[in-house]
Symmetry: C2
Subunit: 338 residues, 2 copies
């Protein structure tokens, strides 16, 4: 019997009407297919990968660029949303400096200092990175996944921090999924309508300025041209997580853009990823549909950091527990349906 | 400043773009308004209230009536979905025999033995209960809420078990919310299309057989005529929970029907209740809309027992933690938006 049939048979024999736990059963089956044994997500770890973006200078975010590093400091002192949510969920949390601007951070037990460059170049006038930097960021992410797997981690959360990073993410969606900047561009941290229009224009400029990379359709070249250091690192985390047989919880708009790049590099990553939630960023739904993903939660969130992953991990934990611990009809002496 | 403005101001000063945690912020504010101090849901307790239904004899469920008591036994031995999910969520779980058929259950530390009658009468030919029984069930629920409050519980989950209980719930929705049986009746544990049609017909018969109670619009009389002992007990749990200032997590189709009755008795219960999830039972969406509720989760579940409540409690816990523990912009030295 195939693993899928074994898992389905097990779920159908548990003391509940068939299929009555809906998505929870699908998630349990997904975990079982990934892990090939008693499914589970614990221990789980969220990486919040930080990077800066040259395009921030174009005024695409309401927040100044310095907020990226201020938020890294906030993560390290435990005051950000992802800290609180990870702690409540019982999930490890690490911060990764893949490409922040400004001086190097001091060492900290929760900080992985692997800055590849102090931010990217402005994508509206040329490539964000050279391909070597992009590859280095991908390998950093893959290495983080492998280190986690070696430490016994079973599920990863892929979080981001980077002022202005909805702009490169929008550009990546357009290039990788044949979408239009005006369809995908959204308010990010809170742009008004005029701001969103300007942002769509800047994304269009980025696609134009990097037209050769976009036309070439080589995912690594596209990611280098339009991505970000944290985005490329997250793409590597997806690739490495899948390669190590980990469950990878995609977070929101940025994390899904990283997934789009990872999937373009290796389509088989799809079997290992769970989309935590539907972002309130309007273009997310369109990208999610093109990518064939189905968000688990829909709470109107648009924060990133790994906050969605921190909320979905307890749902996955619950799904695994249903699979592993519920009684069967035979065990419990419960009559089956007609 | 009003409590609502105080809560909103606090949320807006936390280190995240304003409103970017979406529903989580709304839920945090709701908890703060209910509790008037540092919000929280712990300790939380789920009651799974069980009862039998005379209308089961009409073949409205795929499962035989004996499954109600078999499932009570399964709850007590820890093998049901609600046990597993409550345990994973770190939530207390009690089973209540408000009206099961058959011999009394043996004592058990997790069982509250308060059977009011050994099931209801068939609603398709007359009233389910006499009003005194219904009142007794309501008071039982209110007493359970009060006992929980005295034990320090801050949030309740309102779960049900009762073979055939989507039928009385459907009848209650029709009577209390002016809906049509054909619109609300659904497959329950898995009826086919013909079965759903028969079930709608039986609900129409129930409304006809209890026409005087329905026309009178006295919610207690309607609940006695068309409800169930577990449903009336859950309505009492909602009323008592609100009276004690507890957060009440409604579960799915049955629990929401109990809420509809409780709200008809006292509209102010609405401020204390959170609808855990959107049931896959098709009529639920219609009832939910009429009741002005907004489900937190939508996982295609249709099991009852309190399984939805067990999944939403970690989300509420996360919402409370955001409110209580995140750093403000000033605390963390993070620049605010333009």
């Amino acid at each position: 019997m195939s693993l899928a049939l074994m898992g389905r048979a097990r779920l159908d024999n548990l003391t509940k009407p068939r299929g009555s736990l809906g998505r929870l059963e699908d998630l349990a089956l997904r975990l079982f297919l990934i892990q090939g044994r008693e499914p589970g997500v614990d221990p789980a770890r969220i990486y919040t990968v930080a990077g800066d973006h040259g395009v921030a200078a174009r005024g695409v975010s309401l927040f100044p660029q310095e907020v990226t590093r201020q938020m890294v400091a906030n993560f390290l002192s435990g005051g950000a949303a992802v800290n609180v949510l990870a702690e409540v969920a019982g999930v490890e949390h690490f911060v990764v400096d893949a490409g922040c601007a400004g001086p190097q951070f001091d060492p900290h037990p929760a900080l992985i200092r692997n800055r590849i460059a102090p931010g990217t170049a402005d994508i509206s006038v040329g490539p964000a990175m050279i391909e070597e930097e992009c590859l280095e960021a991908l390998l950093l992410g893959a290495d983080l996944a492998e280190k986690a797997a070696k430490a016994g981690i079973r599920a990863l959360g892929a979080g981001d921090m980077g002022i202005a990073n909805t702009t490169p993410s929008t550009a990546l969606y357009c290039a990788l999924l044949d979408l239009d900047p005006a369809e995908v561009a959204g308010p990010g941290t809170g742009l008004d309508r005029a701001g969103v229009g300007r942002k769509a224009g800047i994304v269009a400029q980025a696609l134009e300025a990097n037209a050769a990379a976009v036309a070439g359709r080589d995912p690594l070249a596209v990611l280098a041209a339009l991505g970000g250091l944290e985005i490329a690192c997250l793409a590597g985390l997806v690739l490495g997580g899948a390669a190590c047989g980990l469950v990878v919880c995609l977070d929101g708009f940025i994390s899904t853009a990283a997934y789009a790049a990872a999937r373009a590099i290796c389509p088989r990553v799809s079997g290992y990823c769970v989309l935590s939630h539907a972002s309130a960023e309007p273009g997310h739904a369109l990208a999610v549909e093109r990518l064939g993903l189905e968000p688990v939660l829909d709470l109107g969130m648009r924060l990133g950091e790994g906050t969605g992953a921190a909320l979905v991990l307890p749902v996955l934990r619950a799904a695994a527990a249903v699979f592993n611990r519920m009684a069967s009809f035979a065990d419990a002496g419960v009559s089956e349906s007609a």
